[in-house]
């Protein structure tokens, strides 16, 4: 094949050319009548809806957003033994393990241990910590056996989900108890992670099913750069249950709850003036639980749901104790209005009580109380039946963290036929400031300057404004012949009011003993333009053999918006390039082999405080290649065995480092694992 000259080739003309190539039948979401008259062959071709994008069931291919679903098959074919590790298979997702129990996870850049632009939900319950401004992934340790699917949307979803759904949404949906009837025991042994999970489910009468589950996870220490065991590690014990009652055909009531607790060890930056070991060794504990009640009413094409949850989480670390209690009531409804409108709306009330304590109080107050009231409405307006759909929506919220916010979104989906769809979107989304930005007080000591001790304090600012993003996105999906499919998405985000630290004048304080004091207040110091392209090519060669290739290229340009010495905290901290490929092959009945190979580029953003604190030049995260391989065998009688290894190519590598986190990163070692599952 001869490559033609592409010098004068423009992207819009390419899109036009692609779209003009084919015209066919229209995309359709199948109603009951259509299904009744469809042939069995057609029925086997119809796929099942996803629900995360617009809080209603809809076609993944008709979703005007960058969406990806991790299915149970994906979980079974993955070497991952935890939810954060599973997310590595999502195109455009940046997953970096920082230490045994800490991950930095984000999409579309601005990654950090406390990435606050990603909204993570389990069955509608948000996991965001408004004290730390992020998600504690070590608390997301539910057994993978209980996961029905994980829907991941990249880009803003704030029009229906609200603040912090800025760069993405991870919606973890657990299995209904009717799908976990019986007893399951699963156990993993590996260099990095030992765990055992037991689940028992049973029906009570005709319409009620319940399950109880318990799991223990021991995350072993990672390594230092020289290969010795690092001072980290975490073990957690979790117990929980769920009961579902199908009261009538249309109504389902569900109640779920968990209790967990554990111990952790970690390295924190030595410069923090809190009681930790000489090299920043810190031991702590976590505890918490939740109760989540849901009522769902579904009739034909309409549905409504009420969810009430109470969540309690506490952490004892870095000499500090904090506890966050959340009570939340949420209502949502979905209804078609006429031929061309499909409405989703809802409202929510949330109250949180945050408490901090410790020998060194890391916040200005020990009690914070916050409320959030919000409502949303989104309409899918069909302009041309099944071909051109305009989605307009917005969330309005009023709360003590982000104030009054309007987060609108407009999306257009054009499906010229059933094989391809093109979408574009404009949205505004807000990151609610956390207590971290408003009320934190972190004392640091930097040694001596001119013979005087040098100290600094990172302080929150009461007038810190919410960061917001104007996001412009577009995407293209196409089903090709021979089981090939392509999913492309591009984004251009304008990020405003990013978190930064302003360095004030050095002052000499004479008491209690003469020292130099530096004030480091949090300010909305930077703006940024970030942009990138995410691609996924999937090839289902035949049942039992499939491949995926994905590449994500992204970068950001930051602009200082305040004069003076201002250092960005919300650095991009994401590789320019991330490529992965995976293969899954059932090479004989009951045997399968899986491979995952990724090349993750270096994180080039320089650490913020590197010149001030004890970081070495080698502490940047260079590029690394990761290979996971494993073989699974279904032995029979419900017994499955998997053996393999993760990170096989190198003895160890560091995945994340941006110098803005208090947690000191460790090296992820090569690991072999053995996993056994037994269901009876």
């Amino acid at each position: 094949m001869r490559l033609i000259s592409l010098r004068h080739f423009s992207f819009p003309s390419l899109i036009t050319a692609v779209l003009m190539l084919h015209a066919g039948t229209a995309l359709a979401q199948q109603g009951a009548d259509a299904l009744a008259s469809a042939s069995l062959e057609d029925l086997t071709q119809i796929s099942v809806d996803v629900s995360s994008f617009a809080r209603k069931d809809q076609d993944l291919w008709k979703t005007p957003a960058a969406a990806f679903v991790i299915t149970q098959q994906d979980i079974a074919h993955s070497a991952a033994s935890s939810i954060p590790e599973l997310l590595r298979m999502v195109p455009g997702m940046e997953v970096d393990q920082v230490d045994a129990g800490t991950w930095a996870i984000s999409a579309r850049g601005f990654n950090s241990v406390y990435a606050d632009r990603l909204l993570v939900l389990i069955d509608g319950r948000t996991l965001y910590s408004e004290i730390y401004s992020g998600v504690h992934w070590d608390q997301v340790d539910l057994p993978l056996d209980l996961v029905e699917r994980i829907e991941v949307i990249r880009g803003p979803g704030a029009a229906v989900w609200g603040a912090n759904a800025v760069n993405g949404i991870v919606n973890i949906i657990t299995k209904k108890p009717r799908k976990t009837i019986g007893t399951r025991v699963s156990s993993t042994i590996s260099r990095v992670n030992d765990q055992v999970a037991v689940t028992y489910g049973a029906p009570i009468g005709d319409r009620v099913q319940f399950r109880a589950n318990a799991n223990f996870v021991d995350r072993r220490p990672l390594e230092t750069s020289s290969g010795t065991l690092a001072f980290d590690g975490e073990n957690t014990l979790r117990g929980g249950g769920r009961i579902d009652w199908q009261r009538t055909w249309a109504d389902t009531l569900s109640l779920s709850g968990d209790l967990y607790g554990g111990h952790l060890r970690q390295n924190v930056l030595r410069e923090i003036a809190v009681p930790v070991g000489p090299n920043g060794e810190d031991t702590g504990s976590i505890a918490g639980g939740f109760l989540n009640g849901q009522w769902e009413h579904k009739t034909g094409q309409t549905s409504s749901a009420v969810a009430v949850y109470f969540d309690d989480q506490s952490r004892h670390e870095i000499g500090d104790y904090d506890r966050m209690r959340t009570a939340d009531v949420d209502y949502q409804a979905h209804r078609a209005a006429g031929e061309s409108n499909d409405l989703v709306w809802g409202g929510e009330f949330r109250f949180t009580d945050d408490h901090t304590a410790g020998s060194v109080l890391l916040t200005t107050r020990s009690e914070y109380r916050h409320y959030l009231v919000d409502g949303f409405l989104q309409d899918d307006l069909t302009l041309v039946r099944d071909r051109l759909i305009l989605t307009l929506g917005s969330k309005l919220e009023e709360g003590s963290l982000a104030g009054f916010q309007v987060q609108p979104s407009a999306r257009l989906l054009w499906a010229p036929d059933t094989k391809q769809s093109l979408w574009a979107a404009v949205s505004r989304a807000v990151v609610a400031p956390a207590i971290q930005e408003r009320g934190i007080v972190v004392p640091l000591h930097f040694g001596t300057l001119d013979g005087l001790p040098e100290t600094a304090t990172i302080t929150g600012s009461a007038d810190f404004k919410p960061e917001y993003v104007k996001a412009f996105e577009a995407g293209y999906r196409r089903r090709l012949k021979h089981g090939l499919s392509l999913d492309l998405a591009g984004f251009y985000n304008r990020n405003y009011r990013l978190t930064a630290i302003a360095v004030s004048q050095y002052t000499v304080v004479p008491t209690p003993e003469p020292h130099i004091a530096i004030s480091l207040p949090y300010v909305n110091g930077y703006d940024a333009h970030s942009f990138g392209i995410e691609s996924l090519l999937s090839w289902d060669v035949r049942p039992g053999l499939s491949f995926r290739i994905s590449e994500t290229c992204e970068e950001a340009h930051t602009f200082q918006r305040l004069p003076g010495s201002v250092y960005i905290v919300d650095s991009f901290s994401t590789p320019r390039n991330n490529v992965f490929g995976s293969a899954s092959w059932e090479f004989r009945p009951k045997w399968s082999a899986d491979a995952f190979l990724s090349r993750v580029g270096a994180i080039s953003t320089p650490p913020v405080l590197a010149t001030e604190v004890s970081l070495q030049a080698g502490d940047y995260a260079p590029a690394y290649t990761r290979l996971d391989l494993h073989v699974s065998h279904a032995i029979g009688h419900g017994f499955d065995l998997t053996a393999g290894g993760t990170n096989l190519l190198t003895p160890r590598h560091i995945e994340f480092f941006d110098g803005t986190d208090l947690i000191y990163p460790n090296y992820v070692p090569r690991s072999l694992f053995l996993r056994a599952k037994w269901s009876f």
Binding site: L3, L6, F11, L14, A17, V18, H22, G24, A28, Q29, Q30, G31, A32, D33, L35, A36, A38, S39, L40, D42, L43, T44, Q45, I46, S47, V48, D49, D57, Q58, D59, L60, W61, K62, Q72, Q73, D74, R178, K179, I181, G182, A202, P203, D206, Q209, Q246, W249, T418, K419, Q420, R478, R479, L480, K481, H482, L484, L486, L537, H637, G638, S679
Partner: protein, 189 residues
């Protein structure tokens, strides 16, 4: 410095060209048809009813059926409302399917098809083999693997519902399953 800039520009051009070539390659492959999406329960209900026309029951079962096929659903299953709706709409066009919602297997002997809800599976495992021998086609949501005495499974695999047929057991019980159905199904041997 200047040469670095030139090299970067060149690299960028090559990258753009590669990207476009890749997109054109994709665009040049003909696309395949696809059939849209549906709610999982409605889809499974439609498959269950549609599938019945590809099954021939053992002769002793045909003698007693008087032209009517009895579809039983054991336990409260989310496919129930969809099954009722489809059967009602088909009754208007003269197809005779009777739906019975059962709470136990005691009266399941009269069923042609017994769809066992997941919640009931463990309860009734022991009574299924006898029902299969009596000419009841046992169907369930789970895969046939680890579900003995289930002749047909309708599991969700990725985002599609698959059909699994336990052919040896079905044949042993006297069922004849059309090759059309077998062609679409995964056959357990």
């Amino acid at each position: 410095m200047k040469s670095t800039v030139h090299r970067r520009a060149l690299i960028r051009q090559v990258r753009t060209a590669c990207g476009c070539a890749f997109a054109m390659l994709i665009a040049s492959v003909p696309a395949s048809a696809q059939a849209g999406t549906a709610n999982e329960d409605a889809l499974r209900a439609a498959m269950l009813i549609n599938m019945m026309r590809f099954i021939e029951w053992p002769s002793h079962k045909q003698d007693v059926d008087r032209g009517q096929t009895v579809l039983c659903i054991l336990g409260a299953d989310p496919i129930g409302p969809s099954v009722d709706r489809i059967v009602q709409s088909q009754a208007a066009s003269g197809r005779l399917v009777q739906v019975r919602h059962l709470a136990s297997t005691d009266s399941a002997g009269g069923c042609h098809v017994l769809y066992v809800s997941l919640g009931e599976r463990k309860h009734v495992e022991h009574s299924l083999p006898a029902l299969v021998d009596a000419g009841v086609l046992t169907v369930g949501e789970n895969s046939n693997t680890n579900t003995p005495a289930q002749l047909i499974g309708l599991p969700l695999v990725d985002d599609h519902i698959h059909i699994e047929v336990n052919l040896p057991q079905a044949q042993h019980a006297g069922f004849t399953i059309s090759s059309k159905l077998l062609r679409l199904a995964t056959v357990n041997h």
